[in-house]
Symmetry: C2
Subunit: 882 residues, 2 copies
C-alpha cells in the first residue's frame, strides 16, 4: 500500500490519511497556489511503524528514498549535495489539530558539507551557519529529547562571554563555534555523533515524529480531548524556503477575517527577514500586513487573492502561514482559523449573508458552550494579562465581577443594601444563602463541584461563580478568608473571573455584554432547526423574563422551594415545619398559599400561554431550618417558641443522607396539605389569568416518584383538590400532572408510571447521583483523580454518561412510550445544556430540555446542531443505502 | 351456575369456591364424620352480589330458599316452625383464613314464635330465650353494625339494677325483658323492626357477610397480608347444635398435637354445658379433654378417632372444634393448627418419620423467618404476660436480654469488663460503637430502621436489638434516657425483648435456646434440597464459627472495615487517615497489614477450603475518626498531633451524603496503598495456610464498582501486587477477584463488568437505596406512612422489591452471563435471608445468598422451600402440558 503522497497527489478530504496539515498542503497545491514542493508520509506509515516495534519498516525507508529522489527532480536540487543542496522541513500533522503537541525540524539536510554549499548558494555564510545551528538545536531536541534549555544555555553563555546583546551580534565564526559546541552536546548527553547523512537525519526525524505520537503529553492531551489513540499522525516533508534570506524576504501569518471581532477584513502579521520561529520566539515584534505590502506590493496582492480564494474554497475563515523568499511568495499552511465566540457568531452569520455557506453550516460553526460567554460581562484579556491570580477554583458560572468580600448571606445582603458591590465567599452554600447570593455580584466557595448548590444557583441566577476553590480557608465566624497564608478580612476587595475560575486582588474593570444582533440571527435560525425544544429553569418572574429574552419556549422547571427562601416567606415556612398538628399548619399554609398564588400569577402573565411546569416542594424540610446557634436563637424568638423545641425539631429532621431522605413526593405523602396548598395556588392563579382572557398552561410536576401506587395516591388526592376548585370557579382549564423521572426505579417501571403521568421530565442530577452512587456535593474528593486516571472521561454531572445514565433514560423513554405512545418527555437537569448530551437526547426522542436562563441560547444552538448532524447522517446513510 | 353446595357435595380441594371452612366441612362430611347438616353459599355468589350492586340476586334468593327446604327435609325440622324449628348458624369463610375479620350469627331462625317452640322442644324456656337474646345481639351487630357495647351496656345495666353477679342469674323473664329491650334498640338506632321472618333473617345475614368482605378492616388486613381482593368469601349455613343444652352437653376445641412443644399427643379444652362463644368470652375457665372423657367416654373415644383420622387425612396437625349435644358428638370445624416455631419443626420432622408426609412437604411446613427465634434466648410468654412494657421499638434482632443501661460504647465496655451485664442505649450507633456493642447483651436505639447500623450489626453479632424506639430521649452527655417522662440514669436495669421490640423495667429471666435435634434434621434435609447456596456474612473467626455451626457453606462477605474498629487497630487506622503523605502512611499500613494477615489466617483455618469472600475497605474514612469534642482531644493526644490538625482533617473528610461519597473502590483509586495492603494480607495469609497443607479459596471483592475502566484499573493494580507475592513465594494459589454489584449503573453495564470480574455479588442494601433513592438510615420518617397507605407493600430493605430492585438484579444477571456464561453470582445483603426474596433469587439464577450467622438456618430452609416450590410448579406444568 502506498505510504507516501506528494502534495500534488492529495486532496483536502484525505485528512485521515494525510493529517490536516498534509491534506491542506495538497489542496493548496491542487488549487495552483505557490506551495513549496513536498510530500506527506501517511498515518498508515505511522501504524506500520508502531506495528514494527517502533522501527521504520524497510519498505517505508525505500519509499522515503524514492520520494526524496523525486523531490530532487522536482526542485532541481540535491539532497546531500554541496551544490544546490535540498533542505527540507519535517513536521507532524494529525487528522485532528493538536497544537503544540508535536514538533518541527527545519533545515534538515544540512551537515558540515552542505552548510558550505548553502553559504555559497545564498552568498551568505552567516545565514547558512545560523540555519545549521538551528537544525542542530531542533534535531537534538526533537529526535534525542535533549532539553531546549541545554542548547539555550550554551548560546546564552556564549553571548555573555562575548558581551553580545542579541543573536544578531553573533558572527559566522561564533555560529561555527556554537555549532561545534552543540555537536559536542550530543556526545556529552550520550547520543553519539550528529548524523551527517541527510538520509539518516530524515529517517530519524520521521521516526521521532511517529514516536512523539505516543509521548505521555500527547496521550494526556488526546484523553482530555477524547481523541482516539489509534488515528496516528502523518509527517510532512517539504522543501525549505527561507524568509530570513535577507532583503525582500520575510514571514507572516494572516487570518482572512478578524479573529476577535469577526469583521470581514484580512488581519495579519509580518516580520521582515525572518523565519517562522522568530515570530513565535517574540524576539522581534511583527508589524501588520502593510509591511508585506510595502516590501513587495505584487506579492501582497497575490497573497490577498490567495487568502480570499482559500476562504471561498474552504468556506470558512482561514489562518494562513506564508513566507516571502527573495520577493517570491510561498504558502506554508492553511487551516480553519481559531476565533473568539463573538467572532465565530459574526463570521457564521456574515458568511450566510454572503452566500458562502448555508444556515445549517453556520449553525455548526459556533460552539454552543461558548455562547453564554457572550451574555456575561468579562475581563478583557489585556486586563487579565497584567494580573497574577491569587488562586483558582472551578469556573462554575461565567461572568466577571469585582467587589468587597462577605462571608455570610446576611452581611452580604446588608452590604448590598448599603450600596456596596458584594462578593459572597463561603465554604459552601445552602438554600438559606439564596438571599445573600442574590445580593452578590459573584459567589465563591472553597468546596463543591460544578453541580454543587453554589454552582447551580449561580448559573441559575446568571451570576459569576467560582467553586471548589481549595486554597481558600474560609473562617465564617472570624469573617475572614486565608489564601495561601494571607488573611483577607471582610470588606477586602476581590475580582472574580467566572470564565477561568481565577480570583484576583483588588477591583478589575469588567466589560459589559452588549446586545449582539448576529447572535440573535443565529439563534433564530437555530430555533427553526432544532428538534429538541428548549425551555427554562426559572423560579422567579425575573429569571423567566430573562429566559424568554434568550428564546426559551416556556418553563420546564420552576422550583417552588426557592420561592420559600425569600425573606418574608422563610419564617412562614419555618412556622409550618414547627407546627405539630394540621390545625397549627393551617395558618402558615394559608399565608404561603396566598404568596404562591401571586408568584404563579406573575409567571403565567409572562408566559402568555407558554407551558409553565411547576415542580412541587422537593427538598427535605430541614433545609428551611436554621443551622447555627445564633440563628436558632433568633428564629426561636421570631417564632415565639422555646429554643429547645426548635432544636428538637431540627434534631428530629436531621438526616444521615438528606439526598436520599424525606423529600420530594415523600413529603407529600406524610404532609399532604403542603402539596395541596401548592396545587391550589397553581390552579387559583391559572383561573385568575384565564378569567383575564390570557391563555395558560400549568403543568404540575411531582418529584422523586418511585412507584405507580405512590403516583396514583398523590394524583388522586391532587385531582380531587383541583376538581373541587374547577367546579367552584366554573372555568374550564387544561392542566397536566407529570413526574420527574430521577430515581433509577422510575426508569425501570416507566411503563407503569406512564399509566398515570401526563409527562415525564428527567432530573438528570438526581438520576446521575443514584446511577453512580455519587453525591454531587462530595464528588470533589475523588473525581479529579478519576478524570486524571482516565477512569471517567468526563464529569457525569456536566456531560451525560451515555452508557449508564443515558441507557437508563433510553429505557425509560422506550418503556414510557410503550404505554403512552406520544408521552411528552423532557430533561430538566443542568446537563440539558450540554451539547454532546443534547445530541444523545435527540437520538432517544427527548422532546425538550430545560436549562437555566443563561444556558438557553447555548441549548437552542446545540439542539439545532444535533438536528443538522442527524440530517447529515440521514443523508449519508440514504446515499450509502442507494 | 350452581351457587350453593351442600356439605355432601363438596371436597377439600374446592377451597376457592367454598372457602376454607366450607371445604373442610364438606370433606369431614365426605369422610363420614358427624357434621351438622348444612350448605355453603359459594364465593361465586359473593361476586354476583357485588356485581348486583350489593343486593342478593333473585336467582340466589331462590337457590337459598330451595337449599333451606332441602335442609328441612334432611334434618326433619322446619324453618319458621314453632314445632321442631330449624335453627342455623351463618358463618363466613374465605379461601384464605382471615381470623377475626368476618362475623358469625348463631341461632338464626328464632323469632317470637319459634323461640317458644324451641323452649317446648328443649323443655328449657330459659335456654330458648337466652338463644334468642344472643341472636338479637349478634344479628344487630353483624347485620346492622350496632356496636356490641350498646347491647352489652343494656345487659350490664340490667344486671346492676337487679344486683345480679353474672349472666347465670338472669331468669327467663329477665331474658324476655332484655330481648324486648334489644329489639327496641333496633328501633332507636334507626333499623326498624327486627325481621321476624327467618327467611328474611337469612338473606340479610348472607348479604351482611358478603358486605363485610369489603369493610375497611378486612381490606386493610388483605392489603397487609397480600391477599387478593377479588377472591371473595363464601357463607356457611349450618344446622345449630347446642353444647349448652344442659347435662351431657358441652363444647371444645382440640389440637391433634401439642401446639407449643409439638409433642404427639392430643391437646384440647372442653367446657361443659356451653356454646363456643362462652369459651371465647372467658367467663368460664375450660378444663382439659378429660372433662369430655368423664362426661361421655364413648363420645370422647369417637372424637379421638376422628381427630386422628383428620390428621392422617390432612397429613398435618389439625385444630378441631366440636360440640356435644345430649351426648352426641358433632364436629364443627377442622383446620391446620397454628403452632410455635419449635412445634412446627418437631411436628414436620416427626411426621416424616411417621411416614405421614415426605421431606419436601416437611420443608414447606416451617416458616423460615421464625427459625432464628429458635436460636436465640427468649422471655417465656408467662413472664411477659405479667409485665407492662415501658415502650416499644422495631424488633431489629431477636433474643432476650437484661442488664444495666449505658450510653456510650466506652462506658458499656468498661462496665462489661467489670463483670456487668450491659444494655447499650444510644440515639443511633456508628462503627465506632462496635466495641461497646460487642460488650453488650442488647442494643437499643431511639433512631433508625430495620437496616440501620445498629440493627445490622446486632443481627450480625446475634445480639438482641431494638431500634427506632421513638419514645426514648437519649441524653448521652448526661448519661440518662427519658422514657415517657421518667428519667433512667446510667446503670438502671432494663430488659429488652428483641422478638417484640418491647422494653421492660428491671431484670426479667430469659430462657436459653437449647440444641434442637429436630431443627438439625430439618436443616440437613434443607441443605440437600436447596438450589441457592447459603454462605455467611462473618467478620470475625467467632462469627464464622457460629455460621459454620449453623450450616454456612463459606463466607460470602467479610467486611474488613469492622476489623479496623477493634480497639488496638482503630488508632492505627486513624494514624493512617491523618497521614499527609504515602511515606507517613507506610508505617500504620504495615502494622495493619500484619494484623489483617492474622485475621484472614484464622478465618481460612476455620474455612478449611470453603470459599472466603473478603470485601476490601468500604466505608468513608471519616467513619474512623472521632466525632465529639472530648474524643477529638483524646485522639489528638494519642496521635501526638495538634487538635486543630485533627479537626481540620475531620472537616475535610466530612460529607453531605456519606452514602454517596468517597468510599469503596473510590478510596482505592485515590489511596491505592490501602487496598494493596489488604490484598497483600489476604494473599500472604492464604499462602501461609496453603503451606500448612490446608486448602484455601480467597475471593477478593471490590465494592461500589460503577464502570469497567474503574474495575480494570483496580484489578490491574491488585493483580500486579498479587503476582509479585506469588512469584516470591513460589506457591501456586487460586484466587478470584469479583465485584459487588450495588450501583444501578453496574447493573446496566453488567455485561461490560463481567469482562473483568470473576464473580458478582449483589449488595442489595446499597442497590435498594439507590434504586429507590432511600437512605436506609432516614427511611423511618416516611416508611410507616407508605406501608400504612399501601403505597409500599413491604419495607424494601426487608423484602425484595421485585419490580424495581429485582428487575435490576435480573438485568445484571442476564447481562453478566451474556458475557460470561457461568459467572458465579451471589447476594450479600441482609435481604438474602428473606424467604420471598430467596424465591425470586432462585428464579433468576442466583447461585448463593450470604447472610448473618443467625439467619443462616432460615436462609437454608427458605432456599429449600424455593426449590421444592419450583419442583412442584415444574411437575404441575409438566402435567398440564401433557
Amino acid at each position: 500500500m502506498q505510504q507516501i503522497y506528494f502534495f500534488s497527489e492529495g486532496r483536502r478530504d484525505m485528512r485521515q490519511l494525510l493529517g490536516g496539515k498534509g491534506a491542506n498542503l495538497a489542496e493548496m497545491t491542487r488549487l495552483g497556489l505557490p506551495v513549496p514542493q513536498g510530500f506527506t508520509i501517511s498515518t498508515v506509515a505511522c501504524h506500520e511503524y508502531e506495528k514494527n516495534e517502533n522501527q521504520l519498516p524497510e519498505t517505508l525507508r525505500q519509499e522515503i528514498t524514492q520520494a526524496m529522489q523525486r523531490l530532487e527532480t522536482l526542485t532541481d536540487k540535491k539532497f546531500n549535495a554541496v551544490e544546490t543542496p535540498l533542505l527540507v522541513s519535517v513536521r507532524s500533522g494529525a487528522a485532528i489539530s493538536m497544537p503544540g503537541m508535536m514538533d518541527t525540524i527545519l533545515n534538515l539536510g544540512l551537515n558540515e558539507q552542505t552548510v558550505r554549499g548553502l553559504a555559497r548558494q545564498t552568498n551568505n555564510e552567516r545565514f547558512a551557519w545560523d540555519c545549521y545551528r538551528r537544525l542542530l538545536q531542533m534535531f537534538g531536541n526533537v529526535v534525542y529529547g535533549i532539553p531546549e534549555q541545554v542548547f539555550d544555555s550554551v548560546l546564552t553563555d556564549y553571548k555573555k562571554q562575548h558581551q553580545y546583546q542579541s543573536d544578531l551580534d553573533l558572527t559566522t565564526a561564533d555560529l561555527q563555534k556554537i555549532a561545534a559546541d552543540f555537536k559536542a552536546l550530543y556526545q556529552e548527553t550520550g547520543h553519539g555523533e550528529f548524523p551527517e547523512s541527510p538520509q539518516k537525519q530524515l529517517e530519524l526525524a520521521v521516526a521521532a515524529v511517529f514516536k512523539s505520537w505516543q509521548n505521555p503529553r500527547a496521550q494526556v492531551y488526546r484523553r482530555l480531548h477524547h481523541i482516539d489513540n489509534n488515528i496516528g499522525t502523518a509527517v510532512n516533508v517539504q522543501t525549505m524556503v527561507f524568509g530570513n534570506s535577507g532583503a525582500n524576504s520575510g514571514t507572516g501569518v494572516a487570518f482572512t477575517r478578524d479573529p476577535v471581532s469577526g469583521q470581514r477584513k484580512i488581519f495579519g502579521e509580518f516580520l521582515a527577514n525572518a523565519q517562522g520561529e522568530d515570530v513565535v520566539s517574540g524576539v522581534r515584534t511583527p508589524e501588520g500586513l502593510q509591511g508585506l505590502a510595502k516590501m513587495a506590493p505584487a506579492a501582497y496582492q497575490q497573497f490577498l487573492t490567495a487568502a480570499n480564494q482559500l476562504e471561498q474554497h474552504y468556506a470558512d475563515m482561514q489562518d494562513v502561514e506564508f513566507t516571502l523568499e527573495h520577493g517570491k511568495l510561498y504558502l506554508l499552511q492553511t487551516r480553519d482559523g481559531k476565533r473568539t465566540p463573538k467572532a465565530a457568531v459574526r463570521i457564521a452569520v456574515d458568511q450566510v449573508k454572503e452566500g458562502l455557506i448555508d444556515r445549517q453550516t453556520a449553525l455548526l460553526r459556533v460552539n454552543p458552550e461558548q455562547i453564554s460567554d457572550l451574555l456575561h460581562p468579562e475581563f478583557a484579556p489585556e486586563v487579565l494579562a497584567a494580573q497574577t491570580p491569587l488562586t483558582k477554583g472551578l469556573p462554575a458560572s461565567p461572568g466577571a465581577a469585582a467587589g468587597k468580600i462577605y462571608f455570610t448571606a446576611n452581611r452580604a445582603k446588608d452590604a448590598h443594601d448599603a450600596g456596596e458591590k458584594v462578593i459572597l465567599v463561603r465554604q459552601d452554600t445552602s438554600p438559606e444563602d439564596i438571599v445573600g447570593m442574590a445580593a452578590s455580584e459573584a459567589i465563591v466557595t472553597s468546596r463543591g463541584g460544578m453541580t454543587s448548590h453554589a454552582a447551580v444557583v449561580a448559573r441559575g441566577m446568571g451570576k459569576c461563580g467560582v467553586v471548589g476553590c481549595e486554597n481558600l480557608v474560609v473562617d465564617e465566624k472570624q469573617h475572614q478568608v486565608t489564601i495561601k497564608g494571607t488573611v483577607y478580612p471582610e470588606g477586602s476587595e476581590l475580582s472574580v473571573d467566572g470564565a477561568s475560575g481565577q480570583l484576583f486582588p483588588g477591583i478589575l474593570p469588567a466589560t459589559q455584554a452588549s446586545q449582539d444582533d448576529n447572535l440573535q440571527t443565529l439563534l433564530n435560525w437555530a430555533q427553526e432547526t432544532g428538534e429538541v425544544g428548549v425551555a427554562a429553569n426559572a423560579d422567579t418572574p425575573a429569571d423567566f423574563a430573562q429566559a424568554l429574552k434568550f428564546g426559551a419556549q416556556g418553563i420546564g422547571l420552576t422550583r417552588t422551594e426557592h420561592m420559600f427562601f425569600k425573606e418574608d416567606r422563610l419564617m412562614k415556612m419555618r412556622r409550618l415545619i414547627i407546627a405539630a398538628t394540621a390545625t397549627d399548619r393551617a395558618e402558615p399554609l394559608a399565608e404561603l398559599q396566598k404568596l404562591q398564588t401571586e408568584d404563579f400569577y406573575q409567571i403565567y402573565r409572562l408566559a402568555q400561554g407558554k407551558t409553565v411546569t411547576i415542580r412541587l416542594l422537593d427538598p427535605p424540610l430541614h433545609e428551611f431550618l436554621p443551622h447555627d446557634a445564633a440563628e436558632i436563637t433568633e428564629v426561636a424568638e421570631a417564632l415565639a417558641i422555646p429554643e429547645s423545641k426548635l432544636q428538637q425539631r431540627i434534631a428530629v429532621l436531621k438526616e444521615a443522607n438528606p439526598m436520599l431522605g424525606h423529600r420530594g413526593c415523600r413529603l407529600a405523602v406524610t404532609y399532604p396539605d403542603i402539596y395541596e396548598m401548592q396545587v391550589t395556588a397553581i390552579i387559583d392563579a391559572a383561573l385568575r389569568i384565564k378569567q383575564e382572557g390570557i391563555p395558560v398552561k400549568p403543568h404540575i410536576m411531582l418529584p422523586l416518584i418511585d412507584t405507580l401506587p405512590e403516583l396514583q395516591w398523590l394524583r388522586a388526592r391532587l385531582v380531587k383538590k383541583i376538581n373541587a376548585l374547577l367546579a367552584a370557579s366554573n372555568t374550564p382549564l387544561h392542566y397536566q400532572i407529570g413526574i420527574m423521572v430521577e430515581m433509577p426505579r422510575a426508569c425501570m417501571v416507566a411503563d407503569q408510571l406512564a399509566e398515570a403521568a401526563d409527562f415525564f421530565s428527567f432530573g438528570t442530577n438526581d438520576l446521575t447521583q443514584l446511577t453512580f452512587g455519587y453525591s454531587r456535593d462530595d464528588i470533589g474528593s475523588f473525581l479529579p483523580t478519576y478524570l486524571e486516571q482516565g477512569i471517567l472521561k468526563a464529569d457525569p454531572f456536566k456531560s451525560l454518561d451515555v452508557d449508564g445514565v443515558g441507557a437508563f433514560m433510553k429505557m425509560a423513554v422506550d418503556k414510557g412510550r410503550s404505554q403512552q405512545r406520544s408521552l411528552p418527555i423532557g430533561v430538566c437537569g443542568e446537563i440539558g445544556g450540554d451539547p454532546a448530551s443534547i445530541n444523545y437526547f435527540a437520538s432517544i426522542g427527548i422532546d425538550y430540555v430545560s436549562v437555566s436562563p443563561f444556558r438557553v441560547p447555548g441549548a437552542i444552538l446545540a439542539s439545532a446542531q444535533a438536528a443538522v448532524r442527524r440530517q447529515y447522517q440521514f443523508q449519508k446513510s440514504a446515499v450509502q443505502s442507494r
